[in-house]
Symmetry: C2
Subunit: 350 residues, 2 copies
Amino acid sequence: MPESRTELQALGEFKLIDGLTKKFSLRHSSSIQGIGDDAAVIDVGGQYMLVGTDMLLEGIHFDLTYCPLKHLGYKAVAVNVSDIAAMNGRAEQITVSMAVSNRFSVEALQELYEGIYLACEHYQIDLVGGDTSSSAAGLVISITAMGRVNKDEVCLRKGARPYDLICVTGDLGAAYIGLQVLNREKQVFQADPAMQPVLEPYKYMVERQLKPEARTDIVQAMGKLQLVPTAMIDISDGLASELFHISKAAGVGMTIYEDRLPIDKRTYDTAVAFNLDPIMCAVNGGEDYELLFTIKQQDLKKVEGHPDIALIGHVTELSQGSHLVTKSGSVVPLRAQGWEHYKHASQNNK
Amino acid sequence: MPESRTELQALGEFKLIDGLTKKFSLRHSSSIQGIGDDAAVIDVGGQYMLVGTDMLLEGIHFDLTYCPLKHLGYKAVAVNVSDIAAMNGRAEQITVSMAVSNRFSVEALQELYEGIYLACEHYQIDLVGGDTSSSAAGLVISITAMGRVNKDEVCLRKGARPYDLICVTGDLGAAYIGLQVLNREKQVFQADPAMQPVLEPYKYMVERQLKPEARTDIVQAMGKLQLVPTAMIDISDGLASELFHISKAAGVGMTIYEDRLPIDKRTYDTAVAFNLDPIMCAVNGGEDYELLFTIKQQDLKKVEGHPDIALIGHVTELSQGSHLVTKSGSVVPLRAQGWEHYKHASQNNK
């Protein structure tokens, strides 16, 4: 055992990863992008291959009290497909590694694999391998997704430039509110198991939490529009955290506008009913798996009027920092906090 | 929860995997080989890309009481490189996903990554990504390795044909004996912490267990010899289990000869001292990570005289089954049991 002891919390998630991996360098000419993006980029000749990986642990990333195994299987695939989409690529293959304790029956695992199967059908993915073993406690799923992208269409985080425009797909904060709803109903149920959970009014948010979709439709639409973002990332940890990643990788600042943030009315109303600030939910709530991307100003006309893409701000010089402009016109520093501190610190699967 | 409940043990590891994945089919022309080999094979144009993945869990695959974190990091990379070698390919990239509990310090993870770093240096691998999160208990490491192979040189399990010769590299059973030594010393230590472990006489076997090497040297040597095996697999679960995998994939039988099995004298002597049958250790002991492969008869001259390749038998028709011919000439059915029942059932990382 080493003599000194530094707690993981003392360092924080990103410094930990930076510290552990700083010695590593890329030696193969085929290694185009290593740690520090949604997926690794490998030159395989005519195209780039993209490889992203995500590990989900019971008790950390999911709670089987309210997350059905079929949904979990679907979500585990979707979040990996989302990583490939965030590179502007199309996922084609996955491997699924799984560790399970004896608590799980064959039928339970069949439910899990039914969800994986449905996601593979929906996203047109081939399951090509994996690894199955037992675990001392709980369920662990580790998925690796492989995809492809044309070399001149790959979107790295580092590509954002000052004066680019910042766009986001869909709406934000719903998955986070969905989690609050599920947690509340769990507590109600634990207090009185005779109580039936009241989920119907919150269906939209709960579905966004339990069954997120990767925005492969947006990647396809951008292909048709001949739009190549200058940078792209998927929103797993929260908008602010993802803006920070682009900011850090590209060496730029970010300004976003509160009144531009796309928030569904149901999310907004439920946040208020739960005494939560809807803007904070949209800025720091995670797991929406929407795409955040930056485009050149001349590409504005390609996204204007798209019903599912919102223009939320613009890229600035690094020296200007990252800010949120409120509805009242105040400029507040954007704080890049993931919504789960050191619960899920990805190296290339943010 | 499903109504009926079938225990995982009732089905057995391979039937479980077969059952869970039977619905899945390959839809992309780029998916050349899916579940059922050491690594997936993806057509990327000029060459094949190989993708193998392995997940290691504390308490299941390793015991930190006697496995130093640096060795664990090295081994986690080596076993994945071995999967790529078993396809006759060369690994170039890995992703490393890790989940850790608060029990681990930053310094402990630095030790782990030092081992990963050493393995990356030794095998000339680029670390290109991963995923880091917390775990409720213990350490989980999931590594995915990517490699390449020329299309006419890839070795699938299904390529073995009757009358091919069966070869194995290095020697067998040492890693299993090493594990017995470590377990014994752990018990001695637990009974009396003042006792110092006696490992020196068992150094070879203990090293084989704690720091196995992928036989990338053999893959290189075969390239120089212009030898392409008809089938190949790495020995992670034990010789008998791996022979069974080739047998099942290729639809052939196997005959191996006891007096041909390569067993190091130190392994043999320690097995006897531990009241274990050295032959059983060589046949069913796992984790040697040697290569088991089949070659056409006309290629015999290419391996004859190679100091690190032993000819141990030949492939037969499926109807003849799989057998071990003992020194006394008895023919006994080969039992395909992994040495850890339902501890490590790989789909493509055997």
